[in-house]
Amino acid sequence: MAEPVLRLEGVTKSYNVGTPVEIEVLHGISATVGAGEFVALVGPSGSGKSTLLNIIGLLERPTSGTVFISGENATALDEAGVTRLRGRTIGFVFQFHHLLPAFSALENVMMPQIIDRGRPEPDMAATAKDLLARVGLTGKENNRPTQLSGGQQQRVAIARALAARPALVLADEPTGNLDSKSADDVFALMREFNRDQNTAFLLVTHDPRLAARCDRVIELFDGRVASS
């Protein structure tokens, strides 16, 4: 079998280490996400979903345990190496879209590639336009995020997450702020990209309806994997 895009081995995370208020929020998580898999991450509020996603996204380091991204041990890399690996292999869709307000929709979608290659290139604009067209935002390329609706913003964020053709997209409640119609659209879009480009998705959601439409569900309870 091919190397999974993500493999976690005994990942723990503690906050305020060495202080009286030290708290362990993840207690030894082991899990895998295979290439092209579409996985839901569910669990009650405070169970550690966002924390786990940040660790997988290499935004935070685990207190112990190992994170393998496409077979590479990310825990062993230095800061610059982690940043490079993140830029190349991981795309993010956040709950609050987190678009850059100073840049247009098109520029937002181009940004991961601009960062990767150092400066904008003509082919990036073409790719970004294409992606915006696929999320149904033709004609909105030059709009600033504030000039878009919540659903439109989240679709730009999805286009952006996919622009650098990552192997794994991490989405933290991408539909949490949307009405059910928009949420369905956004979900369908991610499913479509997952199928067409064989991009793996790890999707945090509170919506059991959406979770049921994923390939697999990992359930987190109080910092432990309850079922997967």
Partner: protein
């Protein structure tokens, strides 16, 4: 679309987004640089003016025989003129073998012109009137290269032959003479001769105008009983403020006593130095204020943009990349502000050049665009911008992307 590198693209966009902050801090930098440019031009102009006036009738370096130093006839210590009349009849000392000394001085690095002079006290007599004067026996051609007497001539030319004399306008008035009139010159060596006035000068200094009488070298040598000798040799140097070191070199070369204008005018020079120091201090404070301004604006900007920084980091931007974004903003503030400030400062200089004038109506300082100063101002401002941005940029680079992103 212009294909700027990532850091430039983000830095410029951040500047454009924070329009009000950008305008305010740019105005601050502009004002600071303008003040520096204006103040420097003003003080440079003032000092150049004072020095030009002081050196109007003084040689840069005066070479004299060693033993004579203590009782020089033309005492240059008390300002530009002051010929001291020595009461005792006393033989003036000549520079030994001065014809051989002149080429030595001329060959000294930094010297551009040399002029021998015989000087000593005498009386100018006309009828019953008698005035004590200082005789200056010169070779006019050579002397003009040392002191710009040509600029001061009111009547006639600065030219001398035979028994011709050039006197100051005040002496002419005191004695009631003018060009074409004759005058008897009597020295303390009880020699005398009749001279013809061929020109009047006005150096803008009453002492000089009352006392100085220019004659030919030979006539003065005869009158002062110093046939074939000279009492001092004047030299002009290439760079004004190297006069002192040139004087030391001449001493080493000739074994004579060489005194620079900087020694003679030590008090004035120290006043000018203090002025320069004050200017530097003001400049230092302005630079500090500008740097603090830039730094504080950027510190605020880092806080405001922490979410964007987190997003950029999540998308793969390195710490260096984020650092570059903020360093660039500082550099742009500094550089753009200094360009505007130089323009504004030069405008001020031009505007005030018409207002500040010398008593004689000539302009006090020229609105000159000194390319070197402008370049150094811009580079300094650029550097200050970078230094001021260093701390905010480090903070931005170290920002935890998770904190920024979590607090949606």
């Amino acid at each position: 679309m212009i294909r700027l590198p990532f850091a430039w693209m983000v830095a410029l966009r951040f500047l454009r987004e924070g329009r009000m902050q950008t305008i305010l801090i740019l105005s601050g930098v502009t004002a600071g640089v303008a003040v520096i440019i204006f103040l420097t031009a003003l003080i440079t102009g003032l000092q150049a003016n004072i020095i030009a006036r002081t050196l109007g009738t003084q040689a840069h370096v005066v070479v004299r025989p060693v033993e004579d130093a203590a009782r020089t006839v033309l005492d240059r210590k008390d300002g530009p003129v002051a010929a001291t009349i020595e009461k005792r009849a006393q033989r003036l000392r000549s520079i030994d073998q001065w014809e051989r000394v002149i080429p030595l001085i001329e060959a000294t690095p930094g010297v551009v012109a040399v002029s021998p002079m015989v000087s000593g006290p005498a009386f100018a007599v006309r009828g019953n009137a008698s005035k004590s004067v200082a005789l200056l026996g010169v070779d006019p051609e050579r002397y003009l290269r040392v002191v710009k007497m040509r600029d001061y001539m009111v009547l006639g030319q600065f030219r001398l032959t035979g028994t011709e004399a050039l006197i100051g306008v005040d002496l002419a008035r005191d004695l009631g003479v003018t060009v074409g009139d004759k005058l008897r010159i009597a020295s303390s060596q009880s020699r005398d001769d009749v001279v013809t006035i061929v020109g009047l000068f006005d150096v803008g200094n009453k002492e000089v105008n009352q006392r100085w009488v220019f004659l030919t070298l030979r006539l003065t040598q005869n009158l002062l009983d110093l046939v074939g000798g000279v009492s001092n040799i004047d030299a002009t140097v290439e760079r004004l403020f190297e006069a002192e070191s040139v004087a030391r070199r001449i001493e080493a070369q000739t074994g004579l006593l060489a005194e620079s204008w900087m020694q003679t005018n030590a008090q004035l020079l120290s006043a000018l130095k203090n002025q320069t120091l004050t200017n530097r201090m003001i400049r230092g404070f302005v630079i500090l204020i500008v740097a603090l301004g830039i730094a504080s604006v950027l510190v605020v900007s880092v806080v405001q943009k922490s979410k964007e920084i987190g997003i950029l980091r999540a998308m793969g931007a390195s710490r260096r990349g984020i650092m570059a974004v903020f360093l660039l903003q500082g550099a742009i503030y500094g550089f753009a502000g200094s360009i505007l400030g130089v323009g504004f400062g030069l405008g001020l200089v031009a505007a005030f050049a018409g207002v500040f004038r010398n008593p004689d109506g000539t302009v006090f300082f020229k609105p000159e665009a000194d390319a070197e100063m402008i370049l150094s101002a811009c580079l300094t401002a650029l550097l200050i911008g970078l230094v001021a941005a260093a701390i905010p940029a480090r903070r931005a680079a170290r920002l935890d992307p998770v904190t920024a992103i979590r607090n949606g």
